[in-house]
Amino acid sequence: MAAILGKLSLRDFDWPLALLALMIVVFGTWQIHNAQPTESYWQKQLLGLGVAIVAMIAVSFTDYRKLVHIAPAFYLFGLVLLGIVLIPGIGMRIHGQQCWIKLPVFGQFQPSEFVKIPTVMMLAYYFGKPRHSALTLKETIIGVLILALPVGLILLEPDTGQALTYVPLLAVILFLSSIRMWIVITAIVLMMVVAPAAYFVGVKTGALSGYKLERINVILDPEHADKRGFGYHTWQSIVTVGKGGLTGTGGSTEYSQSSLKFLPEPHTDFIFAVTAETTGFFGCILLLLAYAFLLSRLITGARRAPDRTGMLVIMAITGGLAFQLFVNVGMALGMLPVVGVPLPLMSAGLSSILATFIAIGFAISVQLRRFVN
């Protein structure tokens, strides 16, 4: 360890990235407190932050290439974890989802959060070889299979939100592995055409009905949706965000939307709405800017990566974070249907913060070795 530390200069440690992440978590902990002042979630979050920082430092000073080298082992271990969580008696069932394993010290542990990292490693392991030609069909199929195994297991829990966050990992890697541009463009165009078409066909045929339809309708027209039924979450989140106005309540939580229990899941899925209510437009824009800097910093790191594997690891992590950010905040702002995706670094949850910090640790590890060979 000392030898490694000697070789690596602390000057090369990506301080802005680490500090940015740290600041967002501290800010987020304040919001968790605002969301549930009487509960101990924010204290647990600080505890998690401590563990996460240690994990991040440990990972960043480990050579990522050695880790990627044994990626299949991690990947297999991840799949085993995802399998274990499905075993009745070990996996905890909450709200009809079997996503958690109970641990003696840390409480709950959510494998689907962590398995993202072995999955990214496995993808980088496979796609990290020097590339001289466009992506082949075979490569694509193998990439899809690498992703399909964990995603399939997660869908069995079932946790659609988490499963969804795996998709951008592969998408980014395929995109950066010289997938042909016409395929990308065709895929985008198809999505833009098929999504509305599917909505209309679904409504007409009755395939899209009940809560699924209501969750989409509330996005299209929140004023006239069923605000007390399945449109409730979205509507209350919109009201909470809008209520914040320019400056928010300034941190006062008296009779806030969350303390009166109008806003559901305020400390996890809807932490952004709480932020909007307490800090207003100013606070939210500052937070979004922080995220923008964080992502830019990661992409800069990817550009400086010493090899293709490192670049893919960072970019997959970046893609995953950006996707989660967009889905979660979009949901809080009533732009996207409600799916259970936590806001990285903000939402309360040990697994989420730990996994995110480990991922950032990876990114730092890659950068630390940009001048080392």
Partner: protein, 650 residues
């Protein structure tokens, strides 16, 4: 970049991802700007609306008192289970009916029907699930607050009336405001809302503005389940103004008792101060329990009770004093006498007319009850000589009778402060009516009309008012119950409601010269005190009260033609009177339906009112009462002189 891979334009692809990420974040920022800056105020209001709730605190209504401050009507607090609309929105009520009905022990079908009816209204705030709940019901609501957060228990004052139906027709009752009323501009202006309790009948209706308090409210913060978290503001309700009426409870009780113990138990007694129009007692029988409307009307049993009342052929809901029109019979002879003198058909010096045992008009003979020779007016009144008045009527002519009717306002409402007063029907109404039908007014109708039959049907109150005006020499007051609305609140505050007393209109002056007045009163005095039709009643002793001169007139009004007047078609018994005869303090009228002779049935009932009045104002037992006779036997005391009586009252 450390690894060169230009052929795959990796740089550009990284740039695309970066731009994409920044675009996404920009989109979120734009959306934030829209929600928080452009629409911020709107959503702040929506958030406010869903957490702030105004809960009304119903104001207690003013109490109703008699003239001596005895309580007639008050309110007692009860608990109701209320459903608030805001919490039911979006839920299907039909699913709630069953558990409500089971938990609160109410009829499910009825509950559903009432709710559906209410649902059609655009803006109801709350809905009464059950009124006057038991402690067990309250416990049930508390225990199920998580399951049914829309239910809450509310304290509300409930109106309480005398249970025996005493004064029911005067007091009226309160009830929930109807949709029809809510649509009327005069109610809208006053800010009534669905569920408000307002006066629906009687004094409760007429003086609703005074009696009604101003509701207070609690501004509370509720959570998403409707549970109250905090109270931000509280405005206490202001009770309504207490209403002091002109009613004297003791006289009222006496009147009620007389009707209750009458043969047919149908009739009306009204006592009035002829000097100002203050009504001292008004009883109409059969009566009803107004608590039905203020307490039980929402229940199945209550509605059945109401249906039974409306279907009852004895019409207990009718205030007979102002809504009953009866042939006045011989009581009609009093205004006839005054008018006959006024119009010169007879004079004080030459008031003799033939009785003749009856009269023949055309080929029809209409008889008198006796043969009184050629009586003068006093004797004709005292003996109630029909023959005399047939001829007087013919002398005055129908136009003379119509003039009299007009003079004594018998073709108008008395203006009493009760709703739904009917106008009497007299030749003033029927003659033009017949002319419209191209029918001739025959003399026989004039003959009948001069003894208060055929085309003459009057309300007892109109009749009493006319006789009261004659009693005091021609000053005709508007009969009324309103004495005072007490002040409420502290002076010089916006909430202050000052005291109000009756704004008495000037009496209508009827020109009755002193000598004419005297002769008519003397005749009426004779009825009771000088061998007249109410002098000695075999069954109930004398009507006369020595030292308290009653002047009166009996009436026995035919309901059907002679010969058929038995059973339910018996004559109506009347007695209209005032006392003391030459210094009247009180005027009383009694009508007992279908019992027969007025002197036998109505006069004793009126005497009972005078006894109560005498006892009250002279503080001794009235002369001639059984109690007084007993006392006299024991102590040898004599009844007080009538002069003492004159100053005792007023």
């Amino acid at each position: 970049m450390k690894f060169e891979d230009d052929s795959q334009n990796l740089r550009a692809r990284l740039r695309v991802i970066q731009i994409l990420a920044i675009l996404m974040i920009t989109a979120l920022g734009v959306r934030l700007y829209y929600l928080q800056i452009i629409r911020g105020a709107y959503y702040a209001e929506r958030a406010e609306n869903q957490r702030i709730r105004l809960l009304p605190i119903p104001a207690p209504r003013g109490v109703i008192l008699d003239r001596n401050n005895k309580l007639l009507v008050d309110s007692r607090p009860i608990y109701n289970v209320i459903l608030s609309r805001e919490d039911i929105n979006g839920k299907d009520f039909t699913n709630l009916v069953k558990p409500y009905a089971k938990g609160l022990n109410v009829d499910a079908e009825e509950l559903n029907a009432r709710f559906l009816q209410l649902k059609s209204q655009p803006a109801f705030e709350s809905f009464m699930v059950k009124e006057n709940v038991t402690p067990a019901d309250i416990a049930w609501v508390d225990a199920h607050s998580l399951e049914f957060p829309e239910l809450r228990v509310e304290l509300q004052p409930q109106r309480r009336y005398p249970e025996d139906g005493k004064l029911a027709h005067v007091l009226g009752y309160v009830g929930e405001i109807s949709q029809e009323q809510l649509d009327l501009p005069q109610y809208k202006e006053k800010g009534y809302k669905p569920g408000d309790i307002i006066g629906k009948e009687g004094l409760e209706k007429v003086y609703d503005d005074y009696l009604r308090g101003r509701d207070g409210y609690r501004k509370v913060i509720v959570d998403s389940r409707g549970h109250i978290q905090d109270e931000v503001e509280r405005v206490e309700p202001q009770p309504g103004q207490d209403l002091v009426t002109t009613i004297d409870s003791d006289l009222q009780n006496a009147a009620e008792e007389q009707l209750r113990n009458s043969v047919t138990k149908r009739g009306v007694i009204v006592a009035m101060d002829p000097n100002n129009g203050e009504i001292l007692a008004l009883a109409s029988y059969p009566t009803y329990d107004p608590n039905l409307f203020s307490q039980r009307i929402a229940s199945k049993e209550g509605r059945a009770e109401y249906a039974a009342l409306t279907a009852d052929p004895k019409t207990p809901l009718i205030n007979r004093a102002i809504q009953g029109r009866y042939p006045p019979g011989s009581t009609w002879k009093i205004p006839m006498s005054v008018a006959g003198l006024q119009q010169g058909a007879i004079s004080v010096d030459h008031s003799n007319l033939v009785c003749g045992g009856g009269i023949t008009v055309g080929n029809k003979f209409t008889r008198c009850m006796g043969n009184h020779g050629v009586p003068e007016l006093r004797y004709a009144i005292t003996k109630s000589c029909d023959g005399y008045f047939y001829r007087l009527g013919l002398k005055m002519g129908v136009d003379g009778i119509i003039k009299m009717v007009d003079e004594f306002d018998l073709n108008r409402r008395t203006g009493v402060d009760l709703p739904h007063e009917l106008v009497s029907w007299t030749p003033a109404y029927w003659k033009p009516e017949l002319e419209k039908r191209h029918e001739e007014w025959k003399d026989i109708r004039t003959v009948y009309a001069s003894v208060g039959q055929d085309t003459v049907v009057v309300t007892p109150l109109a009749s009493l008012r006319a006789v009261s005006a004659i009693a005091v020499g021609g000053r005709m007051y508007v009969p009324h119950f309103f004495k005072e609305a007490r002040a409420i609140g502290a002076p010089d505050t916006p909430d202050y409601r000052p005291a109000r007393t009756f704004d008495r209109p000037d009496p209508k002056i009827i020109d009755i010269p002193e000598d004419q007045h005297h002769i008519v009163v003397e005749g009426m005095w004779g009825v009771v005190n000088n061998g007249g039709t109410a002098h000695a009643i075999k069954s109930s002793g004398k009507i006369q009260m020595v030292g308290f001169d009653i002047a009166g007139k009996t009436g026995t009004a035919q309901v059907v033609s002679l010969g058929k007047d038995t059973g339910n078609n018996k004559d109506h018994a009347w007695f209209v009177s005032f006392a003391p005869a030459y210094q009247p303090e009180i005027a009383v009228i009694a009508l007992i339906e279908n019992v027969g002779f007025g002197g036998t049935h109505a006069a004793p009932a009126v005497r009972a009112i005078y006894e109560a009045y005498y006892r009250k104002t002279r503080h001794v037992e009235p002369p001639g009462s059984q109690m007084a006779q007993k006392q006299q036997r024991q102590t040898g005391a004599t009844p007080p002189a009538s002069t003492a009586a004159l100053t005792a009252h007023r």
